[in-house]
Symmetry: C2
Subunit: 496 residues, 2 copies
């Protein structure tokens, strides 16, 4: 019997990591959906221990040798891509000392847990006490990653979520958006001021909303034998590809946000459920990036979900679960779901205002990580930018201001640009789909969602991480990321 | 700075193990309550990986050295007890090769998962295919443990659940029970044939039963900030002491079993929640044994729960949640919950028939592990013993016969005696309590459950594993296990 190759040895290590990742994903889901408060310290300690273990597995000296040796082995194209992704995961881990990884896990868990009660209490001062440590540790992380990768600290963090993307690119894209977005928002609000829209008349009991959500998930092809829908304060898509756990939150006076939130998370979920099963244990079999991930949720929420053809399709489901009322006519639902109204909350934002929320967060977190501002400067900057970009006054309103998102609580700086990149990728996919299927809206209205999901399965989900984001977009759409598709989509939907 | 002592080094390793155990407990709970079916293979692989890791942690060569060195260190009484329990955990693990541990985890998960659908399908033949491997691996385990510990294979397995107990003791205790139990059962059934009992009129919606269960848990002092109630096919108490997860199952045509099941699991839960917090990370801070654990659940279910004084206390809660009806009068509830009726299902058995279910399982599993019978012999033996002990015909009825319990599916042989030992310990506790508090029943009826729970907290929960089971019972009750208290309790309650 011959020795296992270095590539085979690496496969064994990454399979082990995949299983540890399964444990980490499930207890994180539990923490956000099920866990009672007094368990927090024990859970945080167990999660930190697991992070240390995963870090130790990725930093074992043998891996460095095996990665070198595997480069010399006769590998096929898929194995080469697999090796590249292994190396990427290895580098991310090996640039950071275990003590920092553990300190970040602990500080993040503490800050996030306290935030769950500080946010409703509007307690910025209390939050700041934990948050300063999170920022300080993230800066350490960013500095270490940046020195090794030869990029800026913020770019080094963004690399974790959207490999290959740089803030010079984001700056260019976002400054263009800032040129045309305010004008577009006011033109649309002006146009909509003449529209007659019927508001839905509540209340809408939680159980009925849940049943509606489940039926829309079913329509969208969510596999309930490989996933669940639950409730959490901050909706997310978690779990593992074999068992995708999405969450939402319900308000009895408004079903619309929760329903669209479920459609958003179902987009994430179908990406995970559509990844190639034979590769799930390896980095190459995992989702490409968070930008691509958001492009799936936003394909579902924005491109599909707010499309009048889709709303006509689900209008009967809404009436079935929530009862008949004039507001549930398909035309009125389309007006409701395209309503542009600047507001406080990112996750509740309409399609047009959303990029403004992202640009604001991007600018603040970049300055924070680069050391240009400190944590205590955030509220003033938040107020200023909300006023400038959306004309909204957030002074003293931390709850609906800078305390609203979970991302910063555990140090996930560099993630936010993924949302708007995702919206842009999604607009580009649908432009290509429409080119090949001019009757796309008729198909959607007729319930043939496979027109959309087959395309995504073929071009995105089944590709996993075999290609870089840039290659994936090029192969799927025939060109590089082109933000013009996003602008054209918004123009057509809101002023067309 | 001085070197950390060997005892300190051991403490660090066992703290790590405690955190891994947290992960294992939570994903096991999730598997039984939340997990969708297609996740089974990925979950089983992740759980097996974690078992291997825990086993590797316990078998690290340094531990053997540290255990030796710590014996020579100046330790206080508690540290000595702690060291003894560390050594016990270490021995259990070091007698088994990692390959066997992994094979057992995988075979057990496969068998248990398939059983979840095979049981309702009455599919003994299908079950047998997986079960043969479980038995074969458990025999290997038993043989390895027995050789090292100088006891019989079955005793070696029982040692995992009730350290110090031997089958020669169990044989003596159970053969005495077999002498008086059948006569007692018929005398009680004869007496009860003259009683007039009103059956409850259902149905009882699940959500109302759940609310009733929650209110009784609250009355019993369950800490909802450190635990939850959920649903599973086979009710259990899982999770960790900081976060105790109990489950039940509901039938709309019968609330009585579910309610008493919740009271049973709440007994387990309060033991866990009452363990000394400062010691939870060490073996000495954990529950003493499964026999002692069952003595808590049965103190709650049998001694307290079926006590007419307690039923008078909760009768108003039952009426509040399930509506008024004559059957919910306190006297009638006492008759209902003391009804003796031989039946198929262990977990639904009344207090008198329960020991017969246990003796049957004990005799079969002992013969199976000792190699006197094979897995395929179980149904015939089951039929014969159910007929002999309870006069019940189970032929061909695997679903309500030998397929009913989860214990054998994952190889938990040696556990069953714990239930009847627990019932006997519980009877002994209450005899002692009554000696000190002749007005115990009046206190209970008045809602003063602290009379019971303070005694258990002081004598059992707070003691954790500082003493052996025999010492614990001796200190708590002033004498060794004395099955006569159990017999006297049954006589008094059912013929008194």
């Amino acid at each position: 019997m011959s020795q296992p190759s270095a590539y085979q040895a690496l496969t064994a290590s990454f399979t082990r990591l995949h299983r540890y990742g399964h444990l980490a994903a499930m207890v994180s889901w539990d923490q956000a959906t099920m866990m009672p408060p007094k368990s927090n310290d024990a859970r945080a300690a167990a999660q930190a221990e697991l992070q240390v273990l995963m870090h130790a597995t990725l930093t074992a000296p043998a891996l460095a040798v095996q990665l070198q040796q595997a480069e010399q082995e006769p590998l096929d194209t898929l194995q080469r891509a697999s090796l590249r992704e292994m190396r990427r995961a290895w580098q991310q881990a090996n640039l950071l000392p275990a003590s920092l990884v553990e300190a970040q896990a602990l500080a993040g868990a503490r800050c996030e847990h306290a935030w769950r009660s500080q946010r409703p209490a509007n307690d910025w001062a209390g939050f700041l006490e934990n948050f300063r440590e999170v920022v300080q540790l993230s800066r350490q992380e960013a500095r270490l990653l940046a020195e090794a990768q030869g990029c800026s600290p913020y770019d080094a963090l963004m690399e974790k979520y959207e490999p290959g993307m740089r803030s010079v690119d984001i700056d260019r894209i976002f400054s263009a958006v800032k040129q045309w977005l305010p004008g577009l928002i006011s033109a649309v609000m002006d146009k909509q001021s003449h529209e007659h829209v019927l508001p839905p008349q509540g209340s809408f009991p939680v159980e009925q909303q849940r049943q509606l959500g489940l039926s829309v998930m079913k329509l969208l092809g969510f596999d309930f034998d490989a996933g669940r829908l639950d409730v959490s304060v901050h909706p997310f898509c978690g779990g593992v590809p074999e068992d995708v756990r999405i969450t939402t939150r319900y308000r009895e006076d408004d079903f619309m946000q929760s329903l669209m939130g479920i459609i958003h998370e179902t987009g994430h979920a179908r990406y995970e459920q559509g990844l190639p099963h034979a590769l799930l244990h390896l980095p190459v079999g995992q989702a490409r990036s968070m930008g691509i991930h958001e492009s799936q949720s936003l394909s579902f929420e924005m491109q599909l979900g707010r499309n009048p053809a889709f709303l006509a399709l689900i209008a009967p489901l809404i009436r079935q679960h929530l009862g008949e009322q004039p507001a549930f006519a398909a035309d009125n639902l389309a007006l409701l779901y395209s309503r542009v109204r600047p507001g406080f909350i990112r996750v509740d934002a309409d399609e047009l205002c959303y990029p403004a929320h992202i640009i604001l967060r991007y600018e603040i977190e970049k300055a924070l990580i680069e050391g240009e501002i400190e944590a205590e400067d955030i509220p003033a900057l938040w107020d200023e930018k909300m006023q400038a970009y959306l004309g909204v006054d957030t002074r003293g309103n931390y709850r609906q201001g800078c305390l609203q998102d979970i991302h910063w609580t555990d140090g996930s700086f560099g993630y936010f640009p993924s949302y708007t990149l995702g919206a842009m990728y999604a607009a580009q996919y649908f432009a290509v789909m429409r080119r090949g299927m001019p009757d796309l809206d008729q198909r959607i209205a007729a319930g043939d969602l496979s027109a959309v999901t087959d395309w995504l399965q073929q071009h995105i989900w089944s590709q996993a991480s075999q290609y870089s984001t840039a290659e994936l977009i090029e192969q799927a759409t025939g060109e590089a990321l082109n933000p013009e598709y996003f602008r054209a989509h918004l123009q057509a939907r809101y002023l067309g």
